[in-house]
């Protein structure tokens, strides 16, 4: 009984002190190194939660990451042939509007041979491979 009371006195009914809470929030924010990416589209096709998209805009590619969809699973990191992804040591951003959670990168690769235009349509949840 005394041992139980002592424990309750020390820890409450099971609380963790504030300063010991959550060192980091998960794996961190997904980043793309746009100098490495060749716009091959592998990651877009494999991402299980449609968080990536790649669109051709004239001679360039617009690559976007939607943080509200990303589950930090690492699939893109594993399939990318050029190791273009990394994780920042900071939590996933949180904002009020979903659209603010999208970052865009412009990929300009003359030598790249993309598999076609790959559009990840978030609303229809499917990946369309054109050409």
């Amino acid at each position: 009984m005394i041992a139980v009371l002592k424990r309750l006195w020390k820890h409450g009914i099971g609380t963790i002190p504030k300063d010991e809470l959550l060192h980091v929030n998960g794996r961190g924010k997904l980043l793309l190194d746009d100098t490495k990416c060749t716009a091959c589209g592998d990651c877009v096709l494999e991402c299980p939660s449609e968080a990536l998209s790649l669109r051709r805009v004239q001679n360039e590619f617009d690559f976007s990451i939607t943080y509200s969809s990303c589950i930090s699973c690492r699939v893109c990191t594993e399939v990318c042939p050029t190791n273009a992804f990394s994780y920042a040591n900071e939590p996933m951003p949180s904002v009020q509007l979903r659209d603010e959670l999208v970052v865009h990168y412009t990929i300009n690769r003359d030598e790249s041979e993309p598999k076609g235009e790959i559009v990840s349509d978030r609303d229809r949840r499917e990946v369309i491979l054109k050409n």
Binding site: A3, V4, R7, L8, H11, I13, G14, T15, I16, E20, L21, L22, H23, V24, G26, R27, G28, E46, P48, S72, C73, R74, V75, E78, V79, Y87
Partner: protein, 503 residues
């Protein structure tokens, strides 16, 4: 691990399996597959046996033609094969002749007859009209004063779905019938054609709390096919992740078992410790359930010296508190009263149903993959496998406690002995249509993955026999003779997961 294959005609299956068992083979599971794509007519059944201590598996295979897809059942000789044969009957339409109980298992009664989703000609997203008027048939106890109590599939707490029918006389349970597979997600079908790289991420998500173990079983199967030698540092780190997973599960379960008798103090303090361990996981690999830590050919994340020291100090603290809490729980009269002699699983049934993990070890069935068929770095580490004779809830409680203490010791050894070096190598070539079998000891017991690869590094057939799949059949056997309020306690003492049983 060596795999030796024995290929026989269907009518010789019984004889071949009897010979393997006589040579001390331990039945693990049966894997059926539809291999029409590779010019085999058409189904293959594979019975897998382990030779503990020899690091060897026996696979007894037989081909069943499409015109005559029946084979003699092994369930009367090996009761543990019953579920696997019923599952193959549901999903492939192959018929085990003489099987004592061929009621639907995985697909339930509302699934249309003659539709077999795991056959290769069944499209992935094909939908079926369900027959909502079909009823479930099951054995019952009837008579004056006998009542039936249905429970689930939706439960009062935040737990997974399972349906139970109790036939009771007063408070005592006379018979229990369990209906599972409500969370059958078709993971095995989904994986077919998936690249082996992405398959790993599917494997990690089969179960919420055994992610490392599932991932490890999967990568071991692939590494076996490709004959990859994983670097020394990586295999030690794999042990570290696997043991951290065991720890947070066992520590949480110890507290959670007390929820079965409404002992809130222990539940909360168990959860408090579990939370600290999960935050430790988050700190070292960036995921509370350690997902994304295992990679094909090694591990994804190196653990720096500073992190190792942090693990050491955290575990030191958790260990002290854990001992303290368990001592307090076990000194409580009501706990001892309710835990002892409740839900007894006899050694004979534990062996016949090939149960695994803490469940088996609490019933004096001494098996542990880490020791018997060592993987990763377990053969270089010193640890004990605690066993108990009683087979009741108390034995399962104490078994988990002692096993968790061993985990603390294993992690200590890993921290002091992990060699320097690479953490990952690229995997070798995968020869199409070869298979591998990965086995690990998850917190709930032996976890077996059978992976057959197809062309272009894709998965051709994937079969998962998780630990709960082996242990679930034992639960309804333990309950009769106890009172209904003991059922939650017995169920929690097995701590079985529904999702990785149902897949």
């Amino acid at each position: 691990m060596k795999i030796s294959r024995i290929i026989v005609a269907p009518h010789e299956l019984i004889h071949a399996c009897r010979t393997v068992i006589a040579n001390h083979g331990r039945f693990i599971t049966m894997v059926a597959s539809d291999e029409c794509g590779r010019e085999i007519d058409r189904f293959v059944v594979r019975y897998i046996f382990a030779h503990d201590g020899k690091s060897m598996l026996n696979v007894v295979e037989s081909v069943l033609t499409e015109s005559n897809c029946s084979y003699p059942t092994l369930s009367s000789m090996i009761p543990a094969a019953s579920w696997a044969e019923r599952e193959a009957h549901d999903l492939f339409g192959i018929f085990p002749e003489g099987h004592p109980d061929l009621r639907p298992l995985v697909l339930h009664d509302d699934w249309p007859e003659g539709v077999y989703p795991l056959r290769k000609d069944y499209a992935l997203r094909e939908k079926q009209e369900r027959d909502s008027f079909s009823s479930w048939s099951y054995p019952k106890v009837e008579g004056e004063g006998v009542f039936e109590v249905p429970v689930g599939p939706i439960h009062a707490g935040v737990i997974e779905p399972g349906h139970f029918r109790f036939q009771v006389m007063g408070d005592s349970v006379l018979h229990l019938e369990a209906k599972l597979f409500y969370t059958h997600r078709g993971i095995e079908k989904r994986s077919e054609g998936m690249s082996v790289v992405k398959g790993l991420y599917l494997a990690e998500r089969i179960c919420g709390v055994c992610s490392v173990s599932h991932a490890l079983s999967y990568v071991q199967a692939i590494e076996q096919i490709s004959e990859t030698r994983v670097p020394e540092r990586a295999i030690f780190l794999r042990v570290l992740f696997a043991e951290l997973e065991r720890l947070y599960n066992h520590v949480g379960d110890i507290g959670n078992m007390c929820a079965g008798i409404g002992y809130a103090y222990a539940v909360n303090h168990g959860a408090h410790l579990k939370e600290q361990l999960m935050q430790l996981n988050d700190f070292i690999v960036g995921h509370r359930f350690l997902r994304g830590s295992i990679a094909l050919g090694g591990v994804t994340e190196d653990i720096t010296e500073e992190k190792l020291r942090y693990i050491e100090t955290t575990l030191e603290r958790v260990k002290k508190e854990f001992n303290e809490i368990v001592e307090q729980i076990l000194s409580h009269d009501i706990v001892v009263n309710r835990f002892s002699n409740t839900g007894i699983l006899s050694e004979r049934i534990a062996r016949e149903l090939s149960t695994v993990g803490p469940t088996a070890r609490a019933s004096n069935y001494d098996i542990d993959v880490r020791r018997d068929l060592p993987y990763a770095a377990y053969d270089q580490l010193v640890f004990e496998v605690p066993t108990f004779m009683e087979g009741d809830v108390m034995a399962r409680f104490k078994q988990r406690f002692l096993e968790a203490r061993q985990s603390f010791q294993i992690i200590e050894q890993v921290i002091n002995r992990t060699p320097k070096g690479d953490i990952r190598v690229p995997i070798g070539d995968l020869i199409p249509y070869s298979f591998g079998i990965g086995m690990t000891e998850s917190p709930r017991g032996e976890n077996v993955h059978f992976v057959m690869v197809g062309e272009n590094n894709t998965i051709y057939r994937y079969r998962v026999r998780s630990a709960p799949y082996a242990n679930w059949p034992a639960v309804p056997i333990c309950v009769p003779g106890n009172i209904i309020p003991d059922f939650p306690l017995i169920n929690k003492s097995f701590e079985l997961c529904y999702a990785c049983c149902d897949r």
